[in-house]
């Protein structure tokens, strides 16, 4: 089990973080590092693509929340791309749907960035 992280520049001051695999207590530090590195470089508008994520737990949610808190300190935003029903359910029952913008496509997430 592993997580693959790919970071790519998108139009504007935005970066996309593509995640693939499972995000749990073992793999979430890798995601945290990738997001933290971007923020340290002054990237405050992020799209995190969860389309290829099969599983996420509270440690993964914690990493996303931590990233969102950091970018918001700089007027930034984090939008998520997710269509997996089980993962959307987790965002739903934890109330995180009210905190993150969650979109069905990268295009939609891009257009909605602040």
């Amino acid at each position: 089990m592993d997580i693959k992280v790919n970071v790519r520049e998108a139009p504007g001051d935005c970066y996309v973080v593509d995640l693939s695999g499972e995000i749990d207590v073992y793999t979430s530090p890798k995601v945290k590092d990738a997001i933290g590195d971007l923020i340290d470089r002054g990237v405050y508008h992020l799209i995190i693509n969860l389309e290829k994520v099969r599983y996420i737990d509270s440690t993964g949610l914690g990493v996303l929340i931590g990233g969102l808190k950091r970018v918001r300190e700089h007027g930034g935003s984090v939008n998520l791309v997710c269509t997996n029903p089980q993962i959307k359910k987790i965002f739903d029952i934890t109330g995180l749907v009210k905190i993150f913008g969650i979109f069905d496509s990268e295009d939609a997430a891009m257009k909605a960035l602040v």
């Binding site: 089990m1 499972e22 749990d24 207590v25 073992y26 599983y55 737990d57 509270s58 440690t59 949610l61 914690g62 029903p85 089980q86 359910k89 987790i90 029952i93 934890t94």
Partner: protein, 143 residues
């Protein structure tokens, strides 16, 4: 196979993993495999996976946890009972007392998810023997 004989034998799977992050995936996959033998829906199996992982993660992240986590999955009639045992000794209340889920120990999103996703959740704390998290997931609806 004779159905009556098959159901007369309890299906119980035990797994002992080191209390380290890299082993949590094995625990949740083991629980999912047992859940898959029951009439749980795919969504319910995913719920079990997440709850077991949250329980193991809570143990690992808690200071003073034991060296191993013991996972016991028992296939009941139309339900899965899971026990997550941590042999670590913690500062706990009354000896052998059965109590509600220990929110002080498994805080935040993890405990919320476990409580939301599982049908029954309870906690046994034994100062000398460690801590048991007991969870039941019942088969609800077919996919």
């Amino acid at each position: 196979m004779n159905q009556a004989v098959e159901h007369a034998i309890p299906e119980l799977v035990e797994l002992r993993i080191p209390s380290r992050p890299e082993w949590v995936a094995l625990a949740r996959l083991a629980a999912a495999t047992v859940a898959n033998r029951l009439s749980l829906s795919l969504e319910e199996i995913e719920d079990v996976k997440l709850a077991v992982a949250e329980a193991c993660t809570a143990v690992i992240q808690h200071e003073g946890h034991g060296e191993f986590i013991q996972l016991t999955c028992e296939a009941l009639s139309g339900a899965l009972r899971v026990r997550v045992h941590d042999s670590g000794r913690h500062g706990v209340p009354a000896d052998g007392q059965r109590m509600d889920f220990d929110e002080a120990r498994i805080a935040g999103l993890g405990i919320f998810l476990i409580r939301t996703l599982m049908d029954e959740v309870s906690y046994d704390v034994h100062p000398q023997l460690g801590t048991d998290l007991l969870m039941v997931k019942r088969a609800g609806r077919p996919d």
